[in-house]
């Protein structure tokens, strides 16, 4: 198999596929012409939408002002009567004249006011309680909400002067609301200017009335900008799909239609290599399409002035663009795999198109969901393919994205992409080879006839695609049932057993994978032999593991602090941490040891060092297998309920590498379970001490482990590794079965 991935051969295979796609006029059409055509049209349509809503605001001159009580109503009317009187008397506020004549300040919103300079628009005034008015303001029924309008006497030089003090709320970036606000500002301005004019000219002997005005904009997204923030990712994603569709059909079903498929699968090149090269080409075209579309969107929004109108002053920034791009790439990876799987199943272009149309329509469903402004991007939605990327892009564009669902969305999408790719590679060429597509399906999903020594990587990804959503939902369930203390920990341990031990064992049984070999349940390296040798070996293993665990926790602890110093630690506040610690201390220690050390050690070792490591071992070298399984081990630990514990990533990978080494070296799962349990147990023991205790041991005001300790830990690790190495190095040692 490596022949095809070396010496640039794989690169040449990819290049051929890419060349074939990019020379095709139909690909180029979707890649270049579509963005050029679609975006200006879209932009024109949106412009119309904005203009018509401006027009609407102008035509419906009755702006709705909400006031919270009768008292305010009376004062409001009085104030406006005053302002109207001044304006109708022909008084022109000098500041307003200045402002409207300055073209830089003349926003489209203010432009509307120009014709109304000699009068005020008619207002419709509604009175209700503050809560329902605030709701009305959010929903766009009320345009301006006056929460306070006080008429007070403020002492001035020449005695008490009557003054208005107003507080109001409005919707930001909403045309009607901003217009109501500007009218309100204008009224106060007119009164103030008129009074100062009177004072200046000493025309009035009465005390001047002054108005102070404060307005708070509510950050509620308006319907228009929110739905457009939803439309843009949807359009981008649909366009990315469009870019990928044609190459996907052409490179798979097209091979069959042209009659090149049979020659292709008769070659010794592994099907996975063939499909992977096609996948690279499809993803490349999809990403190129995404880039072209993203650029066109950015151009349209920036230079059409729409961006500012929709996304506030900063507009559709380059930073937003850079955040959306990786999402589109991940999405392209996922959807290209889906397209390849579907098209590999099809025998002709027409059949492929027939399969794709329902998929395209289905993907519109989640798109419509993102258009609803009230749908929040929750953790549960984060594992729904397609929808998660759409929601995440929407939230990034409106600046509301949060870390946990973002991580879950990206991680799950990558897993789904890998699993789909595995399916695609099994389906690709299967029809041509077996003259019956049913066989390929049963090969993929059914129970195989033959026994396998190890699961393969494909099976791992299919299992992960099932496991990850379950894991994610389950890790949030505890919170949902409001489980506390010991119960939460027992629940946690139970689902660990289910997902990491019982399910993988059942899956392995179903796929006829050799369970003792996969889960390293045999006696391990060097089985048998005289009793004295065996006892010596086990003693060596146990002592080696004890030494390793004595040093490892320090490394993990320091790695944790390192991540914390990069301020990558969880977004918990100090109060949260205190509360969590108090909760934790309330749980009996035996429960902590049972559910936090022993249960995870058994369940996770069965999965990560059993199933996962073995699946990687079926194709890769021992070192790479340990590395990849550890990264996966780390990633699963980052998700803990509804918080993202990035600080756990590095320590968990280090632990994974150590246990992976132990598992492969000894050929048995048990020493690793012991190491894992000891490690977790030590870490939990540490966390039961207060910071004062730690300071007593580590030396004054140092959070870090003292150097002498670290040296001791390092020596223990070295001794442990050496002991394990020597113990498993016996003359009658058998190779780890692969």
């Amino acid at each position: 198999m490596n022949e095809y991935f070396s010496n640039g051969r794989f690169r040449r295979l990819c290049l051929k596929e890419l060349r074939e796609s990019l020379r095709d006029r139909r690909t180029l059409f979707t890649l270049v012409l579509m963005p050029i055509l679609v975006y200006p049209l879209l932009s024109m349509a949106l412009q119309r939408l904005v203009i018509s809503s401006v027009g609407k605001a102008k035509a419906e001159s009755e702006l709705v002002i909400g006031v919270v009580d009768e008292d305010i109503l009376v004062k409001f009317r009085a104030m406006f009567a005053e302002a109207t009187k001044i304006v109708e008397a022909g008084f022109v506020s000098p500041i307003l004249v200045e402002r409207t004549s300055d073209p830089k300040n003349a926003s489209p919103l203010q432009g509307v006011n120009k014709e109304e300079e000699d009068t005020f628009p008619a207002f419709e005034i509604v009175t209700s309680d503050e809560e329902s008015l605030a709701r009305g303001l959010r929903d766009g029924v009320v345009d301006l909400l006056i929460t306070e309008l006080r008429f007070e006497s403020i002492p001035l030089e020449r005695g008490a002067s009557p003054s208005y003090e107003i507080q109001a709320r409005f919707r930001q970036n909403d045309l009607r609301s901003e217009r109501a606000l500007s009218q309100m500002r204008r009224a106060t301005q007119v009164i103030n200017d008129y009074q100062s004019e009177l004072i200046r000219k000493r025309l009035d002997s009465k005390l001047p009335v002054t108005v102070s005005f404060k307005a708070t904009g509510i950050m509620e997204q308006t319907d228009l900008s929110s739905s457009i923030a939803g439309v843009i990712p949807l359009v981008l994603i649909l366009m990315t799909i469009t870019g990928a569709v044609y190459p996907a059909i052409d490179l798979t079903a097209g091979e069959r239609e042209r009659g090149t498929m049979e020659a292709l699968i008769a070659t010794p090149a592994p099907r996975f290599a063939l499909l992977l090269s096609k996948y690279v080409a499809v993803v490349s075209v999809a990403v190129l399409t995404a880039l072209a579309n993203l650029f066109a969107t950015w151009m349209t929004l920036s230079f059409g002035g729409l961006g500012q109108a929709l996304f506030g002053k900063s507009g559709f920034s380059l930073w937003t663009l850079l955040q959306i791009l990786p999402l589109l790439v991940i999405f392209a990876c996922f959807f290209s795999a889906i397209l390849l799987a579907l098209c590999s199943f099809a025998r002709s272009f027409k059949e492929a198109q027939a399969y794709l149309i329902p998929v395209m329509l289905l993907s519109l469903g989640p798109g419509l969901v993102t258009l609803m402004p009230n749908v929040q991007f929750t953790t549960t939605l984060a594992i729904v393919p397609l929808l998660n990327i759409l929601m995440l892009s929407r939230d990034i564009m409106t600046g509301q994205s949060s870390l946990v669902p973002a991580f879950a969305a990206i991680f799950s999408t990558i897993i789904y992409a890998c699993a789909t790719l595995v399916v695609a590679s099994r389906l690709f060429g299967a029809e041509a080879a077996t003259s019956g597509s049913q066989e390929s399906w049963s090969e993929l999903l059914g129970r195989p006839k033959k026994r396998q020594m190890l699961p393969d990587i494909g099976e791992l990804f299919i299992y992960l695609a099932i496991l990850f959503p379950l894991f994610f939902v389950a890790s949030n369930l505890g919170g949902m049932f409001a489980l506390k203390g010991s119960w939460a920990l027992f629940f946690n341990a139970a689902f660990l057993f289910l997902l990491f031990l019982i399910f993988p064992l059942s899956f392995a049984w179903y796929r006829r994978v050799d369970i003792p070999n996969t889960f390293l349940l045999t006696e391990g390296v060097g089985k048998g032999g005289p009793l004295s040798l065996r006892v010596g070996r086990y003693f060596g293993y146990v002592l080696g593991v004890l030494l390793l665990s004595a040093g490892l926790w320090m490394v993990a602890f320091e790695a944790y602090l390192l991540f914390e110093s990069w301020s990558l630690a969880s977004q918990l506040t100090e109060e949260d941490k205190e509360r969590l610690k108090a909760d934790f201390l309330a749980v009996p220690f035996w429960v902590v040891v049972l559910t936090g050390a022993i249960a995870p050690a058994i369940a996770e070792e069965f999965f990560f060092r059993g199933f996962v490591l073995s699946a990687f071992r079926s194709k890769l070298s021992g070192f790479r297998s340990v590395l990849f399984s550890s990264v996966l081990f780390g990633l699963f630990h980052v998700i803990a309920g509804s918080v993202l514990s990035l600080e756990k990533f590095l320590p968990t990978i280090i632990l994974g590498l150590a246990i992976g080494y132990v598992a492969l070296r000894t050929g048995s799962l048990w020493p690793g379970i012991l190491l894992h349990a000891l490690h977790n147990g030590l870490i939990f023991t540490m966390s039961r001490f207060t910071e004062q205790d730690l300071a007593k041991w580590f030396g004054a005001d140092s959070k870090h482990i003292p150097v002498t300790w670290m040296l001791g830990g390092g020596a223990a690790i070295a001794a442990g590794v050496a002991l394990l190495f020597v113990s498993s190095l016996r003359k009658n040692v058998n190779e780890v079965p692969i």
Binding site: R9, G259, A263, A266, A269
Partner: protein
């Protein structure tokens, strides 16, 4: 050398078992052209697929130069060349790109592939269109490209699956010349066809396949002797009329 030993393959067609190939054994030596003959549905394609390792036989095995196809199908496939009528070309690649692509799929080193390409350009007269896109080629030119593709990895064994189906006289002649060329180069040639007249012209030995069973095997004169019929066509007609009572293979 190809050696098929007691190959059996059964399919399930809507739940009904159908024996596609039944206990089939034959051998083809180097420099020999063996015709695997039979009407449509006789089991020719299934046999070829088992030889290529694309299908796993229910029982029996195939050996190519001593390597069993069930165990190391990747090694086997390197030794096999396949040409069939339905073979197409990549419209957007040039002839050179397509041939180099296939040499990559067979893991031929690029310098060797380039010199072999030059060789085939002369042999199959590809000079005039070697750098043209395949979509611009005529049917005859496409056919020559396909033949070149089958030889890019210089396989010792060549499988020809209905190579003349749909071709005119000129096209068929080109195939015959190609088979002669293969024979001269000492390749093992397995020709699967239902065009019995053509088979008579080019094959050294024949195997007559019917309903998955090898009914007769031998040279033309041996077959004539065994059946008492002068031509393959007559033998087949007799075979089709009495499908189950015929004597087993000679």
């Amino acid at each position: 050398m190809i050696s098929a030993e007691k190959l059996t393959k059964q399919f399930n067609v809507r739940g009904v078992p159908l024996v596609a190939v039944n206990n089939l054994s034959f051998r083809v030596a180097s420099g020999e052209v063996y015709g695997l003959l039979g009407p449509n549905g006789a089991g020719k394609t299934t046999t070829l697929r088992m030889i290529m390792g694309l299908l796993e036989p229910d029982s029996g095995y195939v050996e190519i130069s001593g390597v069993r196809s069930t165990n190391k199908s990747f090694d086997i496939r390197k030794k096999l060349g396949l040409i069939s009528t339905s073979d197409g070309v990549y419209p957007w690649l040039t002839v050179r790109e397509m041939l180099m692509y296939f040499s990559d799929l067979y893991a031929v080193d690029p310098p060797i592939a380039r010199s072999r390409l030059e060789d085939l350009v002369g042999l199959l007269d590809l000079r005039n269109f070697i750098d043209q896109r395949c979509s611009t080629l005529s049917t005859g030119q496409k056919q020559r490209v396909t033949l070149a593709r089958g030889l890019m990895h210089d396989p010792p064994v060549m499988l020809l699956d209905e190579p003349t189906r749909g071709l005119d006289v000129v096209g068929s002649q080109a195939i015959f010349r190609f088979i002669d060329l293969l024979k001269q180069r000492g390749k093992v040639v397995l020709l699967s066809t239902h065009r019995l007249d053509e088979a008579e012209r080019v094959c050294d030995r024949f195997g007559l396949l019917h309903r998955g069973n090898l009914q007769f095997e031998g040279t033309l004169s041996e077959l004539q002797h065994a059946t008492g019929k002068p031509h393959l066509v007559d033998m087949f007609v007799a075979l089709l009329n009495t499908p189950n009572e015929m004597s087993p293979q000679t």
